[in-house]
Symmetry: C2
Subunit: 336 residues, 2 copies
DNA sequence: TTGAAAGCGCTAACAC
DNA sequence: GTGTTAGCGCTTTCAA
């Protein structure tokens, strides 16, 4: 492999001139620049990443900790990952995927393999937070823990989301609503997220004088059936449902159908899920989108922005937007 | 951050002794070793990855090129990724995720960011192959291109797979079979994979004197319905189906049902898909498993094995295994 | 069993 | 606008 000295020699300049030409950190006469470029080209020169990292304390790599256990809304995870990778690429960075195992965070950060870290699937009281808070590298959490300990966070604003979904249905005239929510384990682990959603939902219902029911749901066929059965028992006159559980969504729709409830004829349905999930159902579902790509992108931008203490740490909650599709309508007039 | 010199000083030994103690490349007296360990501990020393890479020409990182576009059997991709990451971790390596963009391969390899590369989603005539073949680092392809140009490949043995699936049904007594295969675009891109499967399937059918039909299928609801309609028109007496298209699988089952064909009562069904997909259906599907984790694992092992030209390049086709579940049975006796 | 010292390839003062 | 040079922190001969 050609080194920077080879390039310098071939271009008839000093090593530092080549380095500066590459980084743009000082002006280079256009003639010199041309000779350097030619040399780089002809030698197919690429700076050695390790050497660069050693000399500059910058690796050009951001670490991404993603939950890789399959079965858990893999689609959603992949979308976050895609957002992170594309934002990193746009900022000339690569992405190192790290597993959840104990100690990797310390190792990856401690050995200076990465410039910054993005951590997904943050639990309310996540054990990784104190570790992350003690690192030299900036870290951004995707999710909103109870105590971020000064770390930056990005997440969808679930309080607004709950309100937005409920209000859409209330505005259509519905008065008896239900929230079919996250699996109970998730509720317990990620308190903040399901709780914020619920509070927003409940608040909107109460403000509008609607009645409501909140039901946690396992992300399985049986779980969805059970929740719908429960719903049909407790509130057979429900006319509108918010589903905040992308894995259960299709099963909920199917289960409603077994009770003779068609969407949207008998029951209007708003889902909280990535757009791709919403449009993949039939009928296409009116949804509050979880802007996975945007969140991943924001996480990287915030992390990289903090590099030279340029930007301060911050908590960023993205406002939800609702996309009106084919699963909601005004309730049928009650039989006279 | 503490450096190796800090450790050496605190332990009262030379820098090289610390280095050797760490790498185990030469014997260290147990007393010295103890002092070094203590120093490392008390200073919380971690070797600098860049410095190490510079001095040793080894990064401890393997690059993984995975298709990140969502919508394409993300589950399957994630399983491969999980296999790669866990195998890499087991071998004390980290994983750098790289995108499909033009030039990244050259950059990542050229700048010595990785020790080896694993590339997923290989097409029959993939443009990346010549690039990979020209790199200093070993590369392993997941898939089997027309011309591997000396690169190592891992894949499921799809020829055997086709035969195995067909034979399972033939052995049960079925004589009129169909293969509902990959989307036509995939067939055209990844020729080898769909083609090998088809040849295995057809071969087994002909050997047993069964009749057969092969139908490419789009991975959508409409695509599955259309394929089933075609099947029911062309071969209404079909009693056994092999589905090699995990995205379409549930839709195919649903579509069959609309024609009054229950699985397995009227039609036996064997799927070719990851085990998790097979057991997630109802009824659980008899399947030839795509051993995604094992393939990912094998890819990393092969790549790392080639590091010092230790192992030669090779093509490895994993033998399929069939898991008998609830979707196959002998055909009903024809009405007398 | 251990130490001294020469790099690995690059960046960024500092000097002109 | 360009060159000189001192590191960055580690591995690995070579020598003892």
């Amino acid at each position: 492999m050609a080194t920077i000295d080879d390039v310098a020699q071939q271009a008839g300049v000093s090593r530092s001139t080549v380095s500066y030409a590459l980084s743009g950190k000082r002006p280079i006469s256009s003639d010199t620049r041309r000779r350097i470029e030619r040399a780089i080209e002809s030698l197919d020169y690429r700076p050695h990443a390790g050497a660069r990292a050693l000399a500059s304390s910058r690796t050009g790599v951001v670490g991404l900790m993603a939950p890789l256990r399959t079965g858990v809304d893999v689609n959603v995870i992949m979308q976050f990952v895609a957002g992170v990778v594309s934002a990193a690429t746009a900022a000339s960075h690569d992405v190192l995927m790290v597993t959840q195992e104990e100690g990797v965070l310390e190792r990856v950060a401690g050995t200076s393999m990465v410039d910054a870290l993005v951590v997904m699937d943050i639990e309310s009281d996540d054990r990784r937070i104190p570790v992350l808070a003690g690192l030299r590298q900036p870290a951004v959490l995707i999710g909103l823990p109870a105590d971020p300990q000064g770390l930056s966070c990005v997440d969808l604003d679930f309080f607004q989301t709950g309100g937005l979904a409920a209000r859409h249905l209330l505005d259509l005239g519905h008065r008896r609503l239900a929230l079919i929510g996250s699996p109970i384990e998730v509720v317990n682990r990620h308190t903040s997220y399901a709780e914020r959603m619920t509070r927003g939902f409940v608040g909107a219902c109460e403000a509008a004088g609607g009645s409501y029911l909140v039901i946690p749901t396992a992300a399985t066929v049986a779980g969805a059936q059970e929740s719908v059965r429960f719903l049909m028992t407790m509130a057979p006159d429900v006319t509108a449902v918010v589903v905040h559980n992308e894995m259960a969504l299709p099963h909920v729709i199917a289960a409603l159908r077994t009770y003779g409830k068609e969407v949207p004829g008998d029951v209007s349905l708003v889902a909280v899920c990535p757009e791709t999930t919403a449009v993949a159902q039939s009928p296409q579902i009116t949804s509050v989108d979880i802007p996975t790509e945007a969140i991943g992108r924001a996480a990287v931008e915030m992390a990289l922005g903090q590099l030279d203490h340029a930007a301060p740490s911050q908590i960023r909650l993205l406002s939800p937007t609702l996309s009106d599709r084919s699963s909601t309508q005004s309730p049928a007039a009650p039989p006279a």
